[in-house]
């Protein structure tokens, strides 16, 4: 099946007074229609920068190379007008902090209808009834009342639902959700994930879920791509990846995640050291200095993503068997 979003060889770097920062290094990634891809990595791994760059939202100082296509259409280098019609209409965005993404002095209704009036040229009354419908779809209680309210009058979970309603206003094919539940309480988080799962099933909505939390990715995603130091190090179906990862970093990260079933008397598995700094030049595998399996080749040469059985990919010279 053709990919909806196709990233090829995408690199993002920034020139700073202290040198060149490589935020994203040659990433290839496909998102197929209707699937949910989890982009998992620790802070600074480049997961957010990758998506910002693909949709023309990166800072002006960013140097972007490679290709990003949505439905076959090249996004990199496209004009502001073209990108504006893509964002909002064909791709919806939800970010971590709904309070920062919503405009504080506009009512929820005004913010959702604005999207519809700009992208769909709807009349004020048509936009209003559509906004009401959208709020019902994201399961906000008392939607008519919420339309008149301002962001500060809503709880965190409700704000995130309102954000979602506005992202879905123009029936996009793709939703980018960047840490959508990180700022929320666990019980509220469970509700938002449930809602995303329903929307995905009901509308064949493709979702890219950016998260630092393997648990959240496991609850929603069909496939997971793991990022480390700006590069994708492993990719595969969620159950397969959880059952047995090829890349030592994925294994270590999964082992470090405390679960309710983790034994309490043994120390938690942790990864020694820390990821390379953004200014470091990498000769070999970025994970090699922290990797217990690394050998000479790992330190000297950079592994590329290679195919493994069951349509999985891993960038490693000394991978584990699944």
């Amino acid at each position: 099946m053709d990919a909806l979003l196709e990233l090829r060889d995408l690199s993002v770097s920034f020139d700073t007074p202290r040198g060149r920062v490589h935020a994203v290094r040659e990433v290839d990634l496909d998102v197929r229609p209707g699937e949910c891809l989890g982009l998992v990595g620790e802070s600074g791994s480049g997961k957010t920068q990758l998506l910002l760059a693909a949709f023309g939202l990166a800072e002006r100082s960013a140097v972007i190379r490679g290709s990003a296509r949505l439905g076959g259409e090249q996004l990199l280098g496209a004009g502001d007008r073209a990108l504006e019609s893509v964002r909002g209409a064909r791709v919806g965005f939800v970010f971590q902090d709904p309070m920062a993404s919503l405009t504080p002095h506009l009512s929820i209704g005004a913010q959702i209808t604005e999207v519809l009036r700009v992208h769909r040229r709807m009349s004020a009354s048509a936009a209003r009834s559509r906004a009401l419908e959208l709020l019902e779809r994201v399961r906000i209680g008392d939607p008519a009342q919420r339309l008149r309210q301002y962001p500060h009058e809503l709880s965190g979970g409700m704000r995130q639902r309102a954000m979602l309603a506005s992202a879905l206003a123009c029936e996009p094919d793709l939703l980018i959700a960047d840490e959508p539940t990180t700022a929320l309480d666990v019980t509220v988080q469970a509700g938002i994930l449930e809602l995303l799962r329903e929307l995905k099933a009901a509308q064949r909505l493709a979702i890219v879920l950016v998260t630092h939390d393997f648990g959240v990715a496991g609850a929603l995603c069909d496939r997971v791509a793991v990022m480390y130091a700006g590069a994708v190090v492993e990719q595969g179906g969620t159950p397969q990846l959880f059952a047995g990862a090829h890349h030592p970093y994925t294994r270590a990260l999964l082992a470090a995640l405390p679960r309710l079933s983790t034994p309490v008397d043994a120390p938690l598995a942790s990864i020694g050291g820390s990821p390379p700094g953004p200014l470091e030049t990498l000769t070999g595998c970025a994970y090699a200095p922290r990797c217990e399996r690394a050998d000479r080749r790992c330190l000297a040469e950079r592994p590329k993503l290679a195919a493994f059985p069951a349509s999985r990919l891993a960038a490693c010279f000394r991978p584990y068997d699944a």
Binding site: D185, V186, H212, A252, A256, T262, V264
Partner: protein, 262 residues
């Protein structure tokens, strides 16, 4: 209260005055409602609940950073509200604090060694004594000695949290209060800090209050767990009992939500 009781909280309530607008009359928000529990010396108690449930307010009362609006806090059997300034200072020295945002709780203008030494200056330790204890403490929390000359912004989040832990423990407190100490850290670093806190607690026989919204983390470091909801304690039980047979519906809901993705 038994002889080994370090701290006892009796029917503690905390109110905040909330002024919604300059024109509206101020209202009272009861953040903590009639909470009671005892903490034995060397015991670990986890406090869980969602944002706004009053868990941070509760520990700030125990730390002496805030006065309860009602109820009493006893420290080694003595009523804290009846104590004078000198006794309060003495008690504060017995309590170490670690907060969520490691960079935000360290003075950005001070070097790491000075940050760790500061609590020692308050008890009048000599220069040589300070240097010796700071070096030992930095080593114990896993920081290389040369990091002592760095400023907080030159450290990673995990390193900053190690500095905060060193600072909290350098005066040999009997109680360590950790308020969401690993929530801002990446998973790989989070495990390192949890292990470090657990090791330090055991080798020093520290009592520990560990506040977190993450049940899986709390389970790792607490012998008993207190669950709070809307300012009230809804369940207090030994760890294994709480996780195996939660009695309160809210505890069950929390556990079910946590199980979804762990």
């Amino acid at each position: 209260m038994s002889a080994g009781t370090l701290c006892a909280v009796q029917d503690v309530s905390v109110d905040y005055r909330v002024q919604v607008s300059p024109w509206a009359p101020a209202r009272t928000l009861r953040a903590v409602r009639e909470v009671s529990f005892e903490l034995q010396a060397g015991e670990t108690l986890g406090i869980v609940g969602e944002s706004g449930c009053g868990k941070s307010t509760l520990v700030s009362v125990i730390a002496g950073l805030r006065e309860p609006s009602a109820g009493k806090v006893f420290w080694r059997g003595a009523d804290m509200s009846a104590q004078g300034a000198a006794q309060r200072r003495a008690r504060r020295r017995e309590i170490g604090l670690v907060f969520q945002d490691p960079a935000g709780s360290l003075d950005p203008r001070m070097r790491v060694a000075a940050l760790v030494a500061e609590p020692l200056t308050l008890v009048g330790a000599t220069r040589a004594e300070q240097e010796r204890r700071v070096a030992a403490m930095l080593e114990r929390v896993g920081l290389a000695g040369e990091l002592g000359a760095r400023f907080p912004h030159e450290l990673s989040g995990g390193q900053c949290q190690r500095v905060a832990i060193a600072r909290a423990l350098v005066n040999d407190p009997s109680l360590l209060i950790c308020d969401e100490p690993v929530s801002a850290l990446d998973v790989s670093v989070q495990a390192q800090i949890v292990n470090l806190l657990r090791d330090l607690q055991r080798e020093r026989g520290l009592a520990m209050l560990f506040v977190s919204h993450n049940l899986a983390v709390v389970r790792q470091v607490s012998a008993r767990v207190l669950v709070m909801y809307l300012g009230r304690e809804v369940e207090l039980a030994a760890r294994d009992e709480l996780f195996a047979t939660p009695r309160h519906p809210y505890t069950r809901e929390l556990l079910a939500a946590a199980k979804m993705y762990t």
